[in-house]
């Protein structure tokens, strides 16, 4: 039998490259995404290496709030500390807190969203209504509650951001799941006898990735900023371990006098959000096998 088909159907010339290589190639074609990725990689390197020109805690009470100069590229803050150094230093905290928080929130939200979308019924109602409540619950209250439960600390900023992000992800992933569930390949898998778990993990979950990426990159920016307000509740960033959001907030008092204290951290957040969005868009297109 194998004989018959083999001779009748010729093997075509068929170029197969490793999928990763293919994806990379596809991604590399999107210039803005690549530039943004380079920027993000740079940020990551900065976050790891933290090449600060000055000691970030070194105060200089005679040189406070001075505008950008060749000495202090981004000026100095109210203690005369070098803003540039502090921003470099803050990269790690800002990125890691936002990334970790949004990732955890995203994962939990995705889980709930998929469950709600797949099983429908009562479970869905409960999850979705819980999301409504959470969305209308002020973040501050939530944060105070979290401090109350687990006390202050860096990890808890992450948890607060995660908790706050959950309902958004849940909603988006749920609607994505609802759409995917109707696709033929899901039915095909079910007809094979694939278990629910595998169906969810292997077939539906990957399909929600594009929706996930878009929300994920959008939320990073808000996470960096909300991390700042959380640090004011007593967890997260401190003067010795500043992040951009906290710098931005403390710059608020000097808005008229030393605008550089606001401008640079704000710019850093803006560029990071922009870069993540661009990379996200590029990634979404790359991962969409239909787009070539």
């Amino acid at each position: 039998m194998a004989e018959i088909t083999k001779q009748k159907i010729p093997k075509e010339v068929f170029e197969v490259e490793s999928p990763l290589k293919g994806l990379t190639k596809k991604f590399m074609k999107k210039k803005t995404a690549v530039v943004s990725l380079v920027f993000i990689l740079l940020l990551l390197v900065i976050a790891v290496v933290r090449p600060t020109p000055y000691d970030i805690s070194e105060v200089n009470y005679t040189n406070t709030l001075s505008p950008p100069s060749s000495e202090n590229w981004f000026g100095t803050d109210e203690y005369g500390r070098d803003v540039f150094s502090r921003m470099i230093h803050g990269t790690r905290l800002s990125l890691s807190v936002a990334l970790a928080g949004v990732t955890i929130g995203g994962l939990i939200g995705t889980f709930l969203g998929i469950i709600a979308g797949y099983y429908r019924g009562f479970l869905e109602k409960v999850i979705m209504r819980a999301c409504d409540v959470m969305l209308s619950f002020p973040g501050l209250l939530l944060a105070i509650g979290i401090v109350a439960i687990i006390g202050p600390g860096l990890i808890n900023v992450v948890i607060a951001i995660a908790v706050y992000g959950i309902p958004n992800f849940t909603r988006i992933i749920r609607s994505s799941t609802l759409a995917i569930k109707e696709l033929l390949y899901i039915e095909a898998s079910r007809s094979i006898g694939v278990s629910d778990t595998r169906l969810l993990l292997k077939h539906i979950l990957p399909g929600t990735i594009p929706a996930f990426i878009v929300s994920y990159t959008m939320r990073l920016g808000t996470a960096i900023i909300s991390a700042a307000s959380l640090s004011f509740l007593g967890f997260g960033a401190s003067s010795r371990n500043p992040d951009w959001g906290a710098m931005l907030s403390s710059g608020r008092d000097y808005i008229g006098l030393a605008p550089h204290m606001l401008f640079y951290p704000g710019m850093a957040i803006f560029l990071t959000v922009l870069a993540f969005n661009m990379v996200g868009d590029g990634l979404r297109d790359t991962l969409d096998p239909k787009l070539d």
């Binding site: 039998m1 194998a2 088909t5 197969v16 999928p19 390949y185 079910r190 094979i192 006898g193």
Partner: protein
Amino acid sequence: MKDVLVALNNVEKRFLASKKMFRENKYVHAINGISFDIRQGETFALVGESGCGKSTTGRLINRLLEPDRGEIWFHQENISNYSSSQMKPLRKKMQMVFQDPYGSLNPRMRISEIVGEPLLVHTNLTAKERYRKVMDLLEIVGLNERHAQSYAHEFSGGQRQRIGIARALTVNPSLVIADEPVSALDVSIQAQVINLFKNLQKEFQLTYLFISHDLSVVENISDRIGVMYLGKIMELTSKEKLYKEPLHPYTKALLSAIPIADPTLKRERILLKGDIPNPIDLPSGCPFHTRCPHAFQRCVEETPELKEVKAEHKVACHLSFS
């Protein structure tokens, strides 16, 4: 009757169309009491227009859907009310091939994964063994090792359909339910796939439930044919009898509507009037009476039974065929 593999007995299935708070719910009557057997080793074809319930029948047999009424037998087991865990071992014995060769393959999985999935679910083979088996099967359907590492979108329609077929064959099923497997394909590719189906049947002693709306394709591949209309079987007989001597007016209309690739052959066509009725509000009596050129009073009032009017030839019609 020897070696009946699948038997449907008065099966009914309806879907909720709309839910009303204070009034009666509305239903789509997809399957309205059908009975037929599929015998071991044969190709049983279901033909009919879009929405007449062909796919639903397939899904019922596969138990992706639960019948509202009636019995479904598979391998002498009544599987009508089996749970999904009871179904699991049986799923191994019946596999599906779908119409949309793109949509039925997960775009995010490699071909080797897609084809290997039934093995993963139903056997304890190691990854290596699975891979070897997958390769064998791909070879049988005319694909090779390089293809195994690619994704579905990199293939042509015909190749995709072969992947779907390979997947169906991995666990040595006895029944393959093919839901319009060639409808989306170009003629030349369609021919390749039909040939493949036929060859595989010989090779592996497969039984097919072949769903199609294309009577010329069906003739080429099937042994017996059931013609469906609005969730009912209107005519059921062997291929030869159906094409030589169609009895039901609907079958006749269908046959005459097939475009024939021969401009010299000018035929008398039976042009039906109107559209297929809405399965939510089924017409009374014979479902076909709204479009039937021969309909008379009784057709409006009384639903005809599927009766054996000749040997091995069942028809559901009030007209007499003697």
